[in-house]
């Protein structure tokens, strides 16, 4: 019962702020709602006992990436952005694509109704800490892909530095 209340609270919050992100004209306000949406998602993770995922969502998306976003937005002249036309001519195409996607989701649920399998919620306190689980999976089972991904990130970072640096 409590779980569901919490879930619907966060779900509604996430969807509502996601809508506000695209409808607000002021970029800073959009960014604030994006943060809210991300945090609401994090709340859902927490509700699912995925603490590690929750905190990574908070640190990386809300705390890291969004701060950089806000940084950039601050430096842009918002008054100009406010007076620009918000929706451009492709809105019709976008609408069609969205409708098709929505239809797909609805169809998928309709077709597979009855065969959808929902897992029962684990009783509280019996889950082992998932930080250790995640670490184990990353550093044992998927060691190689993980390292490859790190090197990729490193390359991207070095590349960004090289491109941004004008004088040596």
């Amino acid at each position: 019962m409590l779980d569901q209340v919490v879930f619907y609270f966060f779900a509604v919050l996430a969807v509502a702020s996601a809508i506000l992100v695209v409808t607000r004209r002021n970029a800073v306000q959009s960014a604030i709602f994006l943060v809210t949406a991300l945090l609401a998602t994090a709340g859902i993770f927490l509700n699912l006992n995925a603490e590690f995922l929750f905190i990574v969502q908070v640190i990386l998306y809300a705390g890291g990436i969004m701060v950089l976003f806000v940084f950039v937005i601050m430096l842009v002249n918002i008054d100009v952005a406010l007076h620009q036309v918000q929706f451009n001519r492709q809105w019709f195409v976008a609408l069609i694509i969205t409708a098709v996607l929505a239809a797909q989701v609805v169809a998928a649920i309709a077709v597979s109704r009855g065969s959808l399998y929902t897992m029962p919620a684990a009783p509280a306190g019996t889950l082992e800490p998932n930080t250790e689980r995640v670490a184990f999976v990353l550093f044992h089972t998927y060691m190689l892909p993980f390292e490859i991904a790190s090197i990729l990130l490193l390359v991207a970072m070095v590349g960004a530095v090289v491109m941004a640096k004008k004088r040596v």
Partner: protein, 441 residues
């Protein structure tokens, strides 16, 4: 009923913390002013209450009654909400901190990550507040502050990772337990890591010598320039709460949390009598000063403070004199734990103040250089050093006393190298531009 029981104590603790925090922050400000005055051959606040003891309350009342000014072109909603973000995130971070083995709101298994993650959200309060004020000074201050926070969070996080390697858990309670088990506080096992965290935490809380965002002589008051009255007070509260948070993290991670010094040494058990005796001493001081207060009300207040200290001394002494095995005796860990925890937090904050009144201020570029070219590499080396020490201990069965100092020595060598490299780099910066400019006589 049983479904509610697990929530009772956490909610109670949370209420206590939320209710007391503004008061505590106020008294930290008073402590800061007193410490500053002491270092600067002055007395500090003396008028409101005996020895200025009521100054925080007077300040709070003043701030509450002040006119609430919102600049004309400000984004009202954001301007209104930004201080709230700062305060909320700062207070949330306190939730996972163990003030003594029993007094803790929630012992999360991602404890430290939670604190780090939540406090990293506080930056929004700063940046949005600076932006919403619609002033150049505020925006510049906010951007500086955000840049600084992001930079130093990196090294602080890495320093924490070093200690986490030693503890092997993210749970704050588990970390203290690990220090209790080995008998060594992590400050002795990873001194370099503690040093990195000390510097980074000062920078993160925007305190001098890294108080760029508020460099009074340059940017007036940084992101808070346009704020006044209670909104300003909220920012202030957030700032001091953040200080408490970083001090608590340092205490938990490096200074043994709620543990008494030499907690495992039975011969030093008399140290347990230190807290009540300290309180008695403070009470004695209060009583000695009581007749010297100029007004009757102040005399009463001073005496009341003394009585309060006596009561605290009694509370601290009770578990010691109670018969072993009784409920009272078993509460010793909780009561004394809280004392030692708060004592260490206070000491850490005192170091903050001490540094603030001793050092000049860094310039912004110097600050960034220190962060990225010294602390970040050093903290990475530190993690590797501690990792190496642990690996030698666990894989090759080296004794801990040998492998960990080796790791620290590695880090220290790296620090020396980085410093000497920085020295070479530091000074020729100016020459170029200066010489181009012709002397116009």
């Amino acid at each position: 009923m049983n479904a509610i029981m697990p929530y009772v104590f956490p909610v109670l603790f949370a209420l206590v913390i939320v209710a007391l925090l503004p008061l505590v922050a106020g008294y930290i400000v008073l402590m800061e002013r007193k410490v500053m005055a002491d270092m600067q051959v002055r007395l500090g606040p003396m008028r409101v209450g005996p020895h200025g003891l009521l100054q925080p309350i007077a300040d709070a009342v003043k701030l509450l009654l002040k006119e609430d000014i919102i600049p004309e072109n400000a984004d009202r909603l954001v301007f209104w909400g930004a201080p709230l973000i700062s305060v909320t995130t700062a207070m949330l971070a306190l939730a996972a901190l163990p003030i003594g083995p029993f007094f803790q709101i929630a012992d999360l298994n991602i404890g430290l990550l939670f604190i780090l993650g939540i406090s990293s959200l506080g930056i929004f309060g700063t940046v949005l507040g600076g932006w919403a004020s619609n002033s150049h000074y505020s925006l510049l201050g906010a951007l500086r502050s955000a840049a600084q926070l992001v930079s130093y969070e990196t090294s602080a996080g890495m320093a924490i990772v070093g200690a986490l390697l030693l503890a092997g858990t993210l749970s704050t309670r588990g970390i203290v337990q690990a220090q209790s088990d080995t008998g060594w506080w992590f400050i002795f096992v990873a001194p370099v890591g503690f040093f990195i965290y000390l510097v980074a935490s000062i920078a993160e809380t925007n305190r001098a010598p890294f108080d760029m965002p508020e460099a009074e002589s340059e940017l007036v008051a940084g992101y808070m320039t346009e704020y006044s009255g209670f909104r300003w007070a909220l920012y202030f509260l957030a700032e001091y709460t953040n200080m408490i948070v970083v001090a608590s993290i340092a205490t938990t991670l490096f200074l043994g949390g709620w543990l008494r010094p030499f907690a495992n040494t039975r011969a030093l058990n008399f140290l347990d009598y230190l807290p009540p005796l300290l309180m008695v001493w403070v009470a004695g001081y209060c009583f000695r000063r009581t007749p010297k207060q100029p007004v009757a009300v102040q005399k009463m207040f001073m005496a009341a403070v003394g009585v309060l200290c006596i009561v605290l001394a009694g509370v601290l002494a009770m578990p010691l004199v109670a018969p072993a095995g009784s409920l009272l005796a078993s509460s010793k860990a909780g009561i004394h734990g809280a004392f030692w925890f708060l004592f260490k937090v206070g000491a850490y904050i005192y170091v903050f103040m001490w540094l603030r009144f001793t050092f000049p201020r860094y310039r912004f570029d110097q600050l960034m250089r220190l962060g990225w070219q010294f602390l970040v590499p050093l903290s990475i080396v530190n993690v590797m050093g501690i990792g190496l020490g642990l690996a030698l201990h666990r894989q090759l069965n080296w004794p801990n006393g040998l492998s960990l100092p080796l790791g620290n020595a590695l880090t220290a060598v790296a620090a020396a190298y980085l410093l000497s490299a920085a020295e070479k780099h530091e000074h020729p910066r100016v020459g170029e531009e200066e010489e181009e400019t012709p002397v116009h006589a």
